[in-house]
């Protein structure tokens, strides 16, 4: 009976255009419970994605300035070569490296690669997370190498 009432309430809420029940909203990204490492990578994937996209929109407007000629372009570049902007660009590069290789991992898993074969659910149950983990480790090693290389380039520019 209680379940029926909850069902009716849920339908009413959905029909009224209010927030759907059981939706944690933004809080659900970071505070939903005891999660594994992959779940935190998912949060970071979204944060880096939003960061890169905001940068990209600004980048479109900045790169448009080259149409006005060398002087305008160089004045923009002079402004953007300030240490804090250069550090910001390095952070965008690091975010891109992470987002790209974590994204490849997500595509592989979405398509059913690297998750292991389907098994009978016999106790004690095994999780496919342990089968996915090597892909995650490889993706993070590649990310770390790229971030280090970008860091060397960034420090080279600073000197």
């Amino acid at each position: 009976m209680e379940t029926d009432q909850a069902g009716v309430l849920r339908e009413k809420e959905m029909g009224s255009g209010k927030k759907y029940p059981n939706t944690l909203g933004l809080w659900g990204w970071i505070g939903g419970g005891r999660w594994g490492l992959e779940r935190y990578l998912y949060i970071l994937h979204r944060i880096t994605g939003i960061g890169i996209f905001i940068y990209f929109i600004l980048h479109v407007f900045v790169t448009f300035s080259r149409v006005y000629g060398k002087e305008v372009w160089e004045s923009w570049m002079g402004f953007l070569h300030a240490p804090y902007f250069a550090a910001g660009e390095f952070m965008v590069f690091a975010a891109f490296s992470f987002h790209a290789f974590n994204g490849i991992r997500l595509v592989l898993i979405e398509l059913g690669f690297a998750v292991g074969k389907a098994e009978e659910p016999i106790y004690p149950y095994t999780s496919s997370i342990s089968k996915q983990r090597p892909v995650m480790i490889i993706a993070m090693i590649i990310t770390a190498i790229l971030v280090a290389a970008g860091g060397v380039d960034f420090l080279g520019l600073m000197n």
């Binding site: 255009g17 209010k18 927030k19 759907y20 939706t23 909203g25 933004l26 659900g28 979204r46 994605g49 939003i50 890169i52 996209f53 990209f56 929109i57 479109v60 407007f61 790169t63 448009f64 080259r66 149409v67 000629g69 060398k70 372009w73 160089e74 570049m77 660009e89 390095f90 590069f93 891109f96 790209a100 994204g103 490849i104 595509v107 979405e110 290389a149 970008g150 060397v152 380039d153 960034f154 080279g156 520019l157």
Partner: protein, 125 residues
């Protein structure tokens, strides 16, 4: 079904971006280590290097394709995040319309810059 198509294109665009943005990042952020795609040497953002790259049609095509795929991938990603927050159907529709308008506007701005600079770079020869 329609949403599955959008999601599939999101994944495909992600792989295309990895390749094209990878080239862009190598050009701009690993230039002191590798020096690729910077024929005059020095920094990738120097005007001479910009001209050398900008006069190549291959670069024009690459940037237009990159622009289109990043805009799709980015706006789809933001749309998905916003929809997950549990907004009503009406606001979902408004979000779709606003994202399409802003996306098309940015695509036109980006294409205009790329093609105009292609003409400028070739005139500078």
């Amino acid at each position: 079904m329609q949403e599955t198509k959008y999601w599939t294109w999101h994944m495909i665009s992600g792989v295309i971006i990895l390749i094209l943005l990878g080239i862009h990042m190598i050009t701009n952020h690993l230039s002191s280590l590798l020096g690729w795609f910077n024929p005059l040497g020095g920094e990738s953002t120097e005007w001479g290097n910009l001209i050398e790259r900008g006069k190549l049609m291959a670069y024009v095509i690459m940037y237009v394709l990159l622009l289109a795929t990043v805009l799709y991938h980015g706006f789809y990603g933001c749309r998905k995040i916003i929809f997950e927050l549990g907004i009503s159907y009406r606001y979902k529709k408004v979000t779709n319309i606003l994202f399409i308008i802003f996306g098309v506007f940015l695509f036109i701005i980006g294409c205009l810059a790329t093609f105009t600079f292609y003409i400028i770079a070739n005139a500078a020869l």
